[in-house]
Amino acid sequence: MERKMVTIDGNEAAAYVAHKINEVIAIYPITPSSPMGEWSDEYSARGQKNIWGTVPSVTEMQSEGGASGAVHGALQSGALTTTFTASQGLLLMIPNMYKIAGELTSTVFHVSARSVAAQALSIFGDHSDVMAVRQTGFAMLASNSIQEIMDFALISQAATLEARVPFVHFFDGFRSSHEVQKIEQLTIDDMRAMIDDDLVRAHRARALNPDNPFIRGTAQNPDVFFQGRETVNPFYMKTPGIVQKAMDKFAKLTGRQYRLFDYVGHPEAERIIVLMGSGAEAVHETVDYLVERGEKVGVVKVRLYRPFSIKDFVAAFPKTTKAIAVLDRTKEPGSAGEPLYQDAVSAFSELMADDELPFKYPKIIGGRYGLSSKEFTPAMIKGIFDELSKSKPKNHFTIGIIDDVTNTSLEWDSSFITESEDTMRGMFYGLGADGTVGANKNSIKIIGEETDNYAQGYFVYDSKKSGSMTISHLRFGKKPIRSTYLINKANFVACHQFVFLEKFDILENAVEGATFLLNAPYSKDEVWDKLPKRTQEQIINKKLKFYMIDAYEVAKKTGMGARINTIMQTCFFAISGILPRDEAIAKIKGAIQKTYGSKGEKIVQMNFAAVDQTLANLFEIKVPDKITSHVEMKPPVPDNAPDFVKDVTAMLIAGKGDEVPVSKMPADGTWPSATTQWEKRNVGLEVPVWDEAVCIQCNKCVNVCPHAVIRAKVYDPKILDNAPETFKHTKVRGKDFPEGWVYTLQVAVEDCTGCELCVEVCPAKNKQEVGKKAINMEPQIPLRERERENWNFFLEIPDYDRKELKIDTVKGSQFLRPLFEFSGACPGCGETPYVKLASQLFGDRMIVANATGCSSIYGGNLPTTPWAKDENGRGPAWSNSLFEDNAEFGLGFRLTIDKHNQQAKEMLQDMKDLVGAELVEKIINAKQKDEIGISKQRERVEELKKKLEKIDHPNKENLLSVADYLVKKSVWIMGGDGWAYDIGYGGLDHVLASGKNVNILVLDTEVYSNTGGQMSKATPTGAVAKFAAGGKPLPKKDLGMLALSYGNVYVARVAMGASDTQTVKAFIEAEQYDGPSIIIAYSHCIAHGYNMKYGMDQQKRAVDSGHWIMFRYNPDLLKEGKNPLILDSKAPKIPLEEYMYNETRFKMVSKMNPKAAKEFLQHAQEQVELNWRKYENMAQMEFSEKGE
């Protein structure tokens, strides 16, 4: 039967098969496996059926622990069930995996293998997660390529049904899960042929069933547990044979023959590499290349890793084998070697001991490679083969890094390449927002599916969510592509953003004679002279063919706005000649029709127009023979940066992190804070400019700025003597400041993302021209130099004394220095203004536990960190533990702080006579309710430290080590709704119940933002999210109500855009409350689907419509006989529709299913009214009698 060729990524390949051969799917999103669950949900939402004619049920759970529990339950009750996960998610499934395996239950878990967080989190690929479950009793099957992912998804399912041993089917996160390849799609008939319905029925027959009752999951005792554990042995012994049988059957169907261990290479190879995963493809390519050149090398690809068949493993090697390097993509510190290495050594040793080794015991060395998607290239592979040639090759080596500490690393010659000259290799540099990646995926589909070329695409993303660069690596050619590594020799380079040329050496990877396509905001006659010197040099020296287009101009003219994807795609096809031009245009238009057709004719026509206009505006530039430019590339950080930043951080910023040696890396994951200030990203095309004549000095813009780039200071005008010429100031308003002092609002234009929230929130309008405000957007480039100087001067102006500020007001609080600045959050982020506010109010004594998610990424993703320090060197101490444990993690901080505080006080009492009773009493009884109280306590502690220097007491040093804990510390536990409502709710609830003085900040975006918009229990009725593709039918959980049910918890629900005053009050009250506090903060988000500059307006609508009822519940009020619940919202005054239908997440339902949209709207409106009555009644309750 004819099979379709499809161009898809690994996740889709796995999901496609898994959805067709399962009945129940229970998942939880985690990078990089989330798309498998999402695909499944989409298939089911579209009504796609499995091979038995029913649509599988897909359920999103609250955690991977929950998902594995649901999977276990569904399996035990007889459904064919699967799940998809990675990393920590897989680790959370371990307890259930033991159970599922122990009960001999057929299932396949599809895992896109990812690093497990250790010294840091990493979302990228390696085998540390799957290696952490190799002991659970699951069989493990490794796929190395996209085709294999599809094939093994089916083979593993066929095998598990027969073997009754559950399987983990895994492949490399990102490298395989996200790599797009042209592959042959399996058919329904293939699946039917492979899956034996008798075995499916047998699986069902083993299920729990009251019509045939039994019990499973007993507690066994010392007498029989051991024997029970050994009962499974025959099943494991049979499994390799069953898998091979399934592989053989599969080969008959498809012609693709796999073996438990596949050997590729010279038939008389002497040097062999053993590995599994995507790296095996690169080794395969390298082996082919070397063998062709006469080298006796080979590779053993491990397919079935568990149960590990020793005999099959050894049998895979040619009898000529002399030296073996076993590669592990994981690290087990302190082990005798990494797992696959140990298995290999055991295999050879056992067979040798039994005298069954078919050849002389070879040299076996083990090595680590590719952790966290570290590149693994033919050059490195050659380095390993070279090492194997040595008489004493290095064991326990590393490859791909420079380990200058324990010298584990092997050297390699990076000029060694194996890529075929016939393969077209293109690199495309784009901006996240410009659609480059999407267009390239589209191009691969066109080439893959419309020509006989093989096609591969891999995409590298930035660590920032704003102004982020993407690099697309595309390969096309007539031969199969096994290059599972980035392109480093490109014959086509496209730079979709002119500004990149100043920051990165874009043409570094271009080969001689390559084609260079540039999008430039210049005419064809101007462009050459505008190029940086380095770019001109490369174009001339490498004899590049140079094309340019002003894509933004074409986009503007054709109504495409800032989206240049279609235009640049057309350019690529027009220049590359991979298809005849007319044919290419027709295919692009076909793809446009397919992609946009559902969104109406207008969108299609707009894109068609863009295609048609492109060719007329694409020019080949005649390259002059000499360099005319004086524009030099910018250094990644300025000269005045600290040494560590210059030595290490700068390398990461410049994209040269791979070159950082081990010795330069902190050993325990500790990194300096306050480093975003050195990374001037210049991503805002337009930035706010202050009009001091219009400004009313309300500081609202300072408050909302998500990136802390707008700051206000009040100061003595004498300071202005040295001010730059263009530095602005005006007389300060208000009686709270000294007479004659001045006010400046300064913008850090190089750190601004241009989100415009500030302009939208500014209440001051120009009286002559109301369209203008006290801050207005203007192009950044002409302002850059001038404002850099102004900003630097502004930073030198001393901060206003925080003790003198009314920090419980918006204006007052916004003179406090933000200790969270220039994060990599999305432009216009709705979360960061809250985080920043907390850092301003409490940053100098704040310790932050941050749940994994957006906030941990913009807060802690390298290269730089936004958590900053004040002029005294104090600032937030920040850490991210995990996703699920954040509340508990933060509680741990509190326990330590309380204990150290208590210990300090105890020691103080002991040393009372030596230190002085008065000071001791004052320290112990200090009220640290406000800034003045805290400042005084700091002074006392300093005095104490000085006194201690002169005192002789055995506990003196101990007291000094904890004395800082005598000053009040502020514990903040932060995270998103995914954490607080779902995965971390159990812990959060426990911490609320603990009575301890912690502050919990829930940044509620009502959806999993970081992993791309999956539904959480905070998602409201009618909102579309992944796993709620038709709109969520059920209401949002009322976390506030749950929290206030304790009675002794401070609870606030805030929305800065509706009332910044209430927000500031709530933060201060929460922190002052001596017990658990929780603030639930409405955070608009890119996942809501509208222009984020209107984020604060939408917050107001959320409150005005009653969707978001603002309140503060302060248990301290009970002591005064007052109702602790203060309703800060007024009764709903606008219809909910006015709020909801401004956002795509709600509005799109009306475009998909208008009837459902109406019903959602009606239900949501009813809920709003009911909720309001509930809160209103509570707020009106009389508490005075109970207050006695």
């Binding site: 927002a433 706005g561 579309v1024 475009k1151």
Partner: protein, 330 residues
């Protein structure tokens, strides 16, 4: 008592038609209107511009932030299709109204492009509408745009639609033409089956505290009938096209005035939104009572009876300003 009238080629049982309003979005409300005696119903307007904008927004925001960050390839599920991308809901409502009602259902369309006028007019016809009202309004802000250009645009839109549909087409127009009568004649010549006087447009206001321009549509009052009344009276008897009035109709008295001035039918919304669909019955009854009281036999009898050409002093319709004139001169 014969209340019947003809409009756009339909023989109607009376001259009362609920004009384009949200009432027609609800089948039950539409039924109520029919039960109360409505002779036909004009549906709420389909705005091509809104559809285009919504689709562009959908396209923009469904892809916003996608393919930029490794953990979030997209922030939304990407539906394969949108069942209501191009007014499918509206068209379904046309069909549903047709099915539920016995009275003629007139679709209402506001297009922005030639293609849009044509496409949606055809679709509305295919969905079963008995007639189509073109809701044309355009605020020419460009000082270089001449009146002729604007007028030609109106005519062109009408002609485009007429070429592609076979159902009768009316034009709901504004009063702001240099020569209203000529514009009406041009539309008449271009094939309009009826003219609807006039569409009510949002009028901007200024919020002094917020320094913002606010736009809102206030419910009409009977006073607003004055303007169309003049033009009904002037146009009556001079065109092939039927005449409808669509603003200021709040009572039977308003209906009577409009008919006498020359209207074939009267369209109303504000009063029905304020007092409920059933109020149409009250107006109808009042109309009958007044006619009985004043011994009128039919609507046809009074139609145009006080039009420009039927009254003794037609200058009453053309006088624009108060002038001190001596009665005696006449």
């Amino acid at each position: 008592m014969d209340l019947s009238t003809t409009y756009m080629g339909f023989k109607l049982k009376n001259p009362l038609i609920p004009s384009a309003s949200p009432l027609s979005a609800n089948i039950d409300k539409a039924k109520e209107l029919e039960d109360a005696g409505a002779a036909a119903i004009v549906m709420y307007s389909l705005f091509e511009e809104q559809i285009n904008q919504e689709n562009e927004a959908l396209d923009t925001f469904l892809s916003q932030g996608s393919e930029s960050f490794a953990e979030a390839m997209a922030y939304f599920p990407q539906p394969e299709s949108f069942a209501n991308a191009e007014a499918e809901e509206y068209l379904e409502q046309v069909s549903k109204l047709k099915e539920a009602l016995d009275i003629p259902v007139i679709g209402s369309l506001n297009g922005v492009s030639a293609g849009g006028w044509m496409k949606y007019a055809k679709k509305i016809q295919e969905a079963g509408a008995d007639g189509l009202e073109l809701n044309i309004f355009f605020i020419p802000t460009d000082p270089d745009m001449t009146a002729t250009t604007v007028e030609e645009m109106y005519i062109e839109n009408l002609k485009t639609v007429k070429q592609h549909v076979s159902i009768p087409v009316s034009v709901k127009m504004g009063p702001f033409f240099s020569s209203m009568a000529n514009m009406a004649k041009q539309l008449d010549d271009a094939g309009a089956n009826a003219l609807v006087l006039f569409n009510r447009l949002y009028q901007p206001d200024i919020d002094l505290e917020e320094l913002e321009v606010v736009t809102a549509l206030e419910p009409s009052t009977s006073y607003e009938l004055r303007l169309p009344l003049r033009w009904l009276a002037i146009l009556y008897g001079r065109l092939q096209a039927d005449l409808a009035v669509s603003r200021g109709i709040h009572s039977a008295q308003d209906v009577l005035k409009a008919i006498m001035a020359g209207a074939d039918v009267t369209q109303m919304t504000s009063v029905l939104l304020q007092k409920g669909p059933a109020y149409l019955k009250t107006i109808l009854q009042d109309l009958i009572n007044w006619m009985e009281e004043h011994e009128y036999e039919s609507i046809e009898q009074m139609k145009g009876s006080m039009s420009y050409k039927s009254i003794a002093q037609p200058a009453a319709y053309t006088r624009a300003n108060y002038m001190k004139t001596l009665q005696s001169i006449r």
